[in-house]
């Protein structure tokens, strides 16, 4: 119970002078030693009087020792009033402050936890500078108070738990002590308390893989209960966290898939998350049931969800479980004759065919029946056109369907569709020239007069290729294709780890690390800079971080096959096929660099020889030409934040150490770290940290091979330069040891070129 309001105009009369104060003093003294029944009530009345005098500005500090004496009680209301009183006078009467400290320190050891807490709070809010040293003892014992956390209000518990999550225990015993103490917090009805507790559990067990997994098992049920109770909004916030955990360790949730089925009453923002979770947990055992359920949603009245459901079926198919049955399911979608269902399905069938060309016969038979009139959406049209061009031989009326499209060229609004149409007609022509020749002519003519630059240019390119010879044109426009085998993730694993680090924050809901959505000044004290090119001179601090963060050293390899599965989701990345003829924008968008992928990457046996060649040729080649070297192409915009860099640097062994001599121009140019950073960046080698002063500099660089799987294909470099000695010592680390030699050559050549 809080104190009654001091300013309440109770029936107290204003003290006429010293007499009144003296009387109060006497009364307080009398009560101080008394144990008579009802004495607490009398005390309360007197205290009220004192406090109301105090609030109206009358100096009642002469009563100090009596007030303190009277407060030897277990009555919390009296205590509170007394704390209010002493708090008020300690500040203005330093002579009384020491008395106050003694009194409060004693109460900090009271048998009642509530009084211990109140006393500690009062002690900390005295705000007398030279008394701060007295706070340390009580604070420390307060932290050790076994009664501790449970006596905080639920909101304060959230704050405390947030701090506990940052704590690094000294040994496993301490970890288990903390977890046992907090165990019952998982049964709290307040989702904020439960999530804060889960964060503590996850953080504490980061380096104990098996316990970490047990934590997942333990927190499942409470999370699901929170999702089911409460308002949809509260469910959503919790479900976002469950979603994050499912995406990290789908295997652990594969038998819980029924919990992720959509409910009729779920808002669409909840359904969307559930669909993603269903996709993630699909495996050999549950795919049939999940796909059956998703197929039901495809007929849903909620169109957005119907679309998402079809996409989910497609994604599961691409995960390669029970593809056979799923293809049947997709083809049944086409029979539903709903425009949006058809549209989504066509896009999926196209993707499936690119991964599983062996299904072409079944698919094409059904796709051939789709009336092009029912296909309106650009993406779906593009997919249909791609299939018409690609499977022109299997679809008897392909040229005639294409003809229809060419005739309505002018009405087609989407340049994406027009580009695809042009390519499809050309491909059809290579396969069925006599029937398509006329159509191709019309398409080329339309393309050449097209107002859209890309369409026009592609028309011109095709035209000139064909002029050069049909065979040449075919080699370029329709080369033999290989099935797509790798699907790149839309999000890198660094970003995912970063989001996981920000468990129980908005980052989880937005599925973005906080630096992406918050202004710089609101990000908090411990954020790294996200802009790798500008964060010079952090070497010192990053090295100390290396040491202190060793606790979560292996958080990456904890969670089973998560990463393996992740790689098979998301956007398509072409691998060995000529990507420009593919019908989807998603192929090229989002990739930092675009190069024609080398044949070598799909022929691992050949790579040694090429590496050798590369190694030889590099020393003489200019760095620009190395970009064109087939086996190592660097990503122009690799993503790697400092945290992830540090983690990788810790995990990887030094693969090679080299010493290079620098030219005198290079040494002369190196007055600070900046010039070299810029220079290396032109060679697609990025600096993540640098530091030092002439003559000694130290740099951390990184680069990533193009088209690498998420989180892989990195080269990390520590580079120490002594300008006076014109010497440069380089330590290489990489997860791509096959290409290390090539990379080292690129790096060497780049650094030797500096200043030239």
């Amino acid at each position: 119970m809080p104190p009654p309001p001091p300013h309440r105009p109770t029936s107290t009369s204003t003290p006429s002078g010293k007499g009144e104060l003296a009387e109060l003093k006497t009364q307080l003294r009398q009560l101080a030693g008394s144990r008579a029944p009802g004495v607490e009530d009398l005390k309360r009345e007197l205290y009220k009087k004192v406090i109301s005098y105090m609030t109206i500005g009358i100096d009642v500090s002469p009563l100090f020792s009596e007030m303190v004496m009277c407060s030897a009680t277990s009555d919390v209301v009296l205590k509170k009033m007394c704390y209010l009183y002493v708090g008020n006078y300690a500040r203005v009467h330093p002579d009384l402050a020491l008395l106050t400290i003694n009194f409060l320190q004693k109460d900090c050891q009271d048998e009642y936890p509530m009084i211990r807490g109140l006393a500690l709070r009062s002690l900390c809010s005295l705000r007398v500078q030279n008394l701060v040293e007295y706070l340390v003892g009580p604070l420390r014992s307060g932290l050790k108070d076994t009664h501790g956390i449970k006596d905080f209000s639920e909101w304060a518990q959230c704050l405390v738990l947030e701090m506990v999550a940052k704590y690094v225990p000294e040994d496993p015993n301490e970890t288990f002590d903390i977890m046992n103490l907090l165990e019952d917090r998982l049964q709290h009805a307040n989702s904020a308390v439960v999530l804060a507790t889960i964060k503590v559990f996850l953080n504490l067990t980061m380096s104990m893989a098996d316990v970490h997994q047990q934590v997942y098992e333990r927190i499942k049920a409470p999370l699901m209960t929170l999702v089911s109770s409460g308002s949809p909004e509260q469910s959503y916030a919790v479900l976002c966290h469950l979603h994050l955990l499912v995406m990290r360790a789908p295997v652990l949730f594969s038998s819980d898939y029924k919990h992720f089925y959509c409910r009729y009453s779920d808002p669409s923002y909840i359904k969307k998350l559930k669909l993603e979770m269903l996709t993630a947990v699909a495996n050999e055992n549950n795919t049939y049931e999940i796909v059956t359920e998703l197929s039901e949603y495809a007929a849903n009245v909620d169109v957005a969800i119907a679309r998402e459901s079809i996409r989910a079926v497609g994604k599961i198919a691409l995960q390669q479980y029970d593809v056979n049955a799923i293809v049947d399911r997709l083809l049944q979608f086409l029979e539903m004759e709903k425009d949006y269902v058809t549209a989504e399905t066509l896009v999926l069938v196209k993707d499936l065919l690119r991964k599983y060309p062996q299904w072409s016969q079944d698919c094409i038979a059904v796709v051939g029946n789709v009336s092009s009139k029912h296909v309106q959406e650009p993406k779906a049209k593009a997919a249909l056109l791609w299939m018409l061009g690609e499977y022109a031989l299997e679809m008897p009326d392909a040229p005639y369907v294409l003809e229809g499209f060419v005739e309505s060229w002018a009405e087609e609004e989407s340049p994406e569709v027009r580009l695809e149409l042009l390519t499809a007609v050309a491909k059809c022509f290579f396969r069925r020239a006599p029937e398509t020749q006329k159509i191709l002519g019309a398409a080329l003519a339309a393309a050449l007069s097209d107002a859209h630059q890309d369409v026009h240019d592609r028309g011109l390119l095709y035209y000139r290729l064909l002029q050069h010879g049909v065979e040449t044109a075919e080699r370029v426009i329709n080369p033999p294709k290989q099935a797509v085998s790798v699907f790149a993730d839309t999000q890198s694993s660094e970003i995912k780890d970063r989001i996981f680090d920000e468990f129980n924050t908005l980052a989880v809901v937005y599925q973005q690390p906080s630096y992406m959505f918050l202004d710089k000044e609101h990000r908090g004290a411990f954020e790294f800079s996200d802009d790798t090119s500008t964060n010079a001179s952090v070497t010192e601090s990053s090295e100390t971080m290396l040491a202190s963060q060793s606790v979560d050293a292996n958080d990456n390899d904890l969670l089973l096959s998560a990463s393996e599965k992740e790689d098979t989701r998301g956007n398509l990345v072409s691998n060995g096929s000529s990507s420009y003829v593919a019908p989807s924008n998603s192929l090229i968008d989002g990739l930092g660099s675009f190069t024609v992928p080398p044949a070598a990457s799909s022929l691992p046996t050949a790579s040694f020889a090429i590496d050798d060649l590369l190694g030889l040729s590099l020393s003489t080649n200019s760095p620009e030409s190395t970009l064109a070297q087939p086996s190592l192409v660097l990503n122009a915009k690799p993503a790697l934040n400092p945290g992830a860099f540090q983690q990788k640097w810790r995990q990887l062994p030094v693969a090679s150490t080299e010493d290079y001599g620098l030219s005198s121009q290079a040494a002369a140019n190196l007055t600070g770290p900046q010039p070299l950073l810029k220079h290396m960046q032109t060679h697609l080698i990025h600096c993540i940290a640098s530091g030092g002063q002439a003559p000694n500099f130290k740099f951390f660089f990184f680069a990533q091979k193009s088209n690498a799987s998420t989180g892989l294909g990195y080269f990390l470099v520590e580079c120490i330069i002594n300008v006076t000695a014109r010497k440069c010592t380089v330590n290489y680390k990489t997860d791509e040891s096959d290409l290390l030699e090539s990379f080292a050559a690129v790096f060497k050549s780049a650094i030797l070129n500096f200043g030239v």
Partner: protein, 460 residues
């Protein structure tokens, strides 16, 4: 920590606006409302409860036709803010009795006072009505209870054979009764939301009961309250799922998958030893002696239970441009119980141009409707007595000849209902004990059971 708190009507009017940190511009309410109203996205999507516009995070909950919003500039815990918003709603309800635009407008000074005590510089302090009572001095101006829509029989509370209208809980917890003295009473609700999905062949694919034991106390002096549940209650099957077990374990037992508790609940006598299957459950509520409305316990059950309704939908071709849909509903519960506001909704094939309804002879209290815009039909039954069966024939006129997929294009049937004095889980309050020293003290204790459909779906 939050920067601002505000309440908007569904028209976008500012009802309450409180700035705590002055780091978000005042125009935020307008920005928020525009964003929610014109949420970009695919067909028919609504704005998620949390989103970011220009570095400002907006978190909101919808309650009673009002939008309760918090803004923040930092990376807050979304659950914390959403829980806080929900709690503010509850505190306002406790104080005002009824929460709506009118009561908020009439009491805005009080609401501001509450907000000042609830949140300090953006940090939540307390959301306990009990604690707030001693800091807050404005008296609530209650609105006329007679103007609150009647909730029907669902809202009846029982104490033995005595009945009490549900509007009793719309009293303010703090306001004084006109007669002067407050009536000592406590209301306990066992509210269950059930979700069941039936396959086209009538099997139950998934079923779940999500329950809440809710309490609203008008007791003075905050006495200790003991609540005892079924003796044969068991909690937790290990892991998150009971689906594997079906209903095989312990016939007749109430097996909850999991549950959680309000912070005032002490579990000293709540033995959580998972090796035991028979438990005597009772809570003691003491820590912060509660006042006002709060959920004592939330629980979740996937154990098989007897479903209250069975629905048999069939659709067939009856001519080139015609089809017939037959819906049969059977109430599977005891005939002493009556369900209210039963509504069945069925999406019809997109080629449907007309639907003619044929109710049974002598059917009363039933109505039907067909909306052409979204091809949705609706069948409402005001009351359904246990054990009864009802039938509806719907003749469809189609614009398209011979539709092979007519079955796929129809459904699923979704059902809404409220069944008072019924609970699917069979969780019972064995006794509700209020401990107070005086022998003459015997407050009114009202217990109410009610089951709602959450997602009750029958596929065709």
């Amino acid at each position: 920590m939050i920067s601002q708190f505000f309440v908007l009507s569904l028209r976008g009017d500012n009802i309450i606006f409180r700035d705590y940190r002055a780091d978000v511009p005042k125009s935020s309410a307008e920005i928020f409302f525009r964003k929610v109203k014109f949420w970009k996205g695919e067909e028919g999507e609504e704005a998620p409860p949390v989103f970011n516009v220009d570095g400002v995070n907006y978190l909101h909950v919808k309650v009673a036709g009002l939008l309760f919003v918090a803004t923040s500039r930092v990376n807050v815990s979304p659950s914390l803010v959403l829980e806080l918003l929900q709690r503010i709603v509850r505190v306002a309800k406790d104080y005002l009795g009824v929460l709506n635009e009118e009561s908020l407008r009439k009491n805005f000074v009080l609401v501001y006072e509450l907000l000042d005590e609830t949140i300090d510089f953006g940090y939540p302090q307390t959301t306990s009505t009990e604690v707030l009572k001693s800091y807050v001095f404005n008296e609530p101006i209650t609105i006329d209870a007679a103007r609150i829509p009647n909730l029907g029989a669902a809202a009846i509370f029982m104490q033995g054979s005595r009945r009490m209208p549900g509007t009793a809980v719309t009293k303010s917890v703090v306001a004084n009764e006109p007669g002067g003295k407050k009536r000592e009473e406590i209301f306990v609700d066992i509210i269950e939301k059930i979700s069941v999905t039936f396959s086209s062949s009538g099997y139950i694919l998934t079923s779940e009961v999500d329950g809440t034991i809710q309490m609203k106390s008008y007791l003075t002096g905050n006495p200790e309250i003991r609540l005892a549940l079924n003796e044969d209650l068991s909690i937790g099957s290990g892991g998150g799922s009971n689906y594997e077990y079906g209903g095989s374990g312990g016939m007749g037992m109430v097996m909850l998958d999991d549950c959680n508790f309000h912070e005032s609940v002490r579990l000293d006598d709540f033995d959580l030893d998972r090796t035991l299957t028979l438990l005597v459950i009772h809570f003691i509520i003491t820590k912060v002696p509660p006042d006002g409305e709060f959920p004592v316990m939330n629980y979740r059950m996937t154990q098989e239970f007897k479903v209250p309704f069975k629905v048999y939908p069939t659709i067939s071709d009856v001519g080139a441009f015609k089809a017939e849909l037959v819906l049969k509903v059977r109430a599977e519960f005891a005939n002493t119980i009556t369900a209210n506001s039963v509504v069945l909704r069925v999406p019809l094939p997109k080629s449907t141009t007309r639907a003619t309804f044929q109710l049974e002879l002598g059917a009363s209290g039933q109505s039907t409707d067909f909306k052409e815009s979204n091809k949705m039909m609706e069948w409402s039954l005001r009351k359904v007595t246990g054990g009864s069966e009802h039938l509806l024939r719907v003749k469809l006129t189609l614009s398209q000849e011979r539709n092979a997929n007519i079955k796929k294009e129809t459904g699923p049937v979704s059902m809404n209902f409220t069944i008072p004095m019924y609970n699917a889980s069979r969780l019972q309050v064995r006794y509700l004990q209020i401990v107070k020293k005086s022998k003459t003290y015997n407050p009114y204790r009202w217990v109410r059971y009610v089951t709602h459909a959450n997602s009750y779906v029958v596929r065709l």
